[in-house]
Symmetry: C2
Subunit: 255 residues, 2 copies
């Protein structure tokens, strides 16, 4: 119930150009044509780390996108086992249009700012603006592809490959965000605790810790503290991740 959790509500007529998501390539529903209308109905909400944004089965009143921070989508089995089924970064869409109830929990893993719309209003706009809906479809198709990639990781990869794959994903994000080369020397932060990593990879916290140590000892990465990583042998890391063959990877420094 995001509406109840408002801690940083802003005036409604704020310009969308103030909204950080607008500056990202993935922000595909804040397009010029619909900007004014979206602008008029959006609002902002802040969440503290660990805070639940929506719970499974709750009525979803709002949907929108992450402005800053990282959100985890998770499912919890009745005995407490947890699986993080997706991570959302700034610009990513959150919420389930055309459904009354959320199919999974959304939890803030860092301080999070959301840019939200009331579901009914957003759905109205969707039906009136085919182009908006088209972009949402493309985003959803991309998410589906990503989810299926992750299924391969969960079902078939070893612990080492899982951790290496996770680091590769983070490194790719960092390279795009910082307009940097995806190559040795690139530094980035792990935005999750060991616990959250484990629950994203289908492992335990101890195994994650051990594998990270091992990747460091194998000279594939530098580790400074628990969250600061620097690539030491990206090519090696990619091999350790189990899916080499992704050599359509234009970002890689081929030197």
């Amino acid at each position: 119930m995001p509406d109840e959790n408002v801690t940083g509500l802003r005036p409604v007529h704020q310009r969308c150009s103030d909204c950080p998501i607008r500056h990202r390539a993935v922000c595909s529903y804040c397009a010029p044509a619909q900007l004014a209308e979206l602008d008029a109905i959006k609002f902002y909400v802040d969440y503290a780390p660990g805070r639940e944004i929506v719970g499974t089965g709750e009525p979803t009143k709002s949907l929108g996108s992450v402005v800053s921070g990282v959100v985890a989508l998770q499912k919890i089995l009745s005995d407490g086992r947890r699986q993080i089924v997706g991570l959302l970064f700034p610009g990513d869409f959150i919420g389930r249009p055309f459904e009354q109830r959320a199919p999974y929990d959304a939890v803030a893993v860092t301080p999070v700012k959301m840019c939200l719309f009331r579901r009914s209003q957003f759905e109205d706009l969707l039906t009136r603006e085919p182009e908006l809906e088209h972009r949402l479809l493309e985003m959803t198709l991309n998410e589906l592809d990503a989810a299926r990639d992750w299924m391969v990781l969960l079902g078939r990869k070893t612990a080492r490959e899982k951790v290496a794959s996770f680091l590769v994903v983070l490194a790719r994000r960092a390279a795009v965000l910082e307009q940097a080369r995806l190559a040795d020397g690139l530094a980035f932060q792990i935005p999750l605790s060991r616990d959250a990593i484990a629950e994203h990879l289908g492992l335990t916290i101890e195994t994650v810790s051990r594998q990270l140590t091992q990747l460091r000892k194998d000279a594939l990465i530098h580790l400074d503290g628990a969250r600061d990583v620097r690539l030491r042998d990206y090519r090696g890391l990619l091999e350790a991740s189990g899916d080499d063959g992704d050599w359509d990877d234009t970002l890689v420094d081929s030197a």
Copy 2:
């Protein structure tokens, strides 16, 4: 490259009412409004079991839906490990609009008949017909939810829970298709080999076999041959599947 594999191409002007998918609730893009246009551009293709419909990275020329049979979507790692990331049943959509290349293989696991459209033609129609696109969005959102449910299975469930979950999914499908009660006594077939089941559940063939035997010994199911299953204790099977709490399950015989 489906176009090359044509074994059952039919005349273009066949009425859509001949198309079996039209009679299914899930066939959401053969709606009356667009029926004539879709009718004019569709064609049929048959595939033998084991036949590849599209390969990962191949240019996707066609997309459409499954008319009969079962299709597996799979990814293969470079060393041969395989993960089936989705099963498609009659009425399910297949193909990746707005992308040049297929993100995963599609393989026929039974004899399959497809109802296909050339990608460019279908995409044209999508942009002209917002309602068509809307329905595709809803289907994609549902697939995404299903994929994330499966991630919980792959990441956090035991072998027994995985196999039980798989049977529950099949039982649900059978109940819907046959308009039957989802209750003890319901009989259905497993459309996959032990091998394919294993690769869908992230297990080995031996473990699948053992768990099925165990579920039989525990009096949760009857097993007649390798593929014929009859529910003996659905409630128990659901508990064994790890996600009870799904008691919004209106299909369940509450007696």
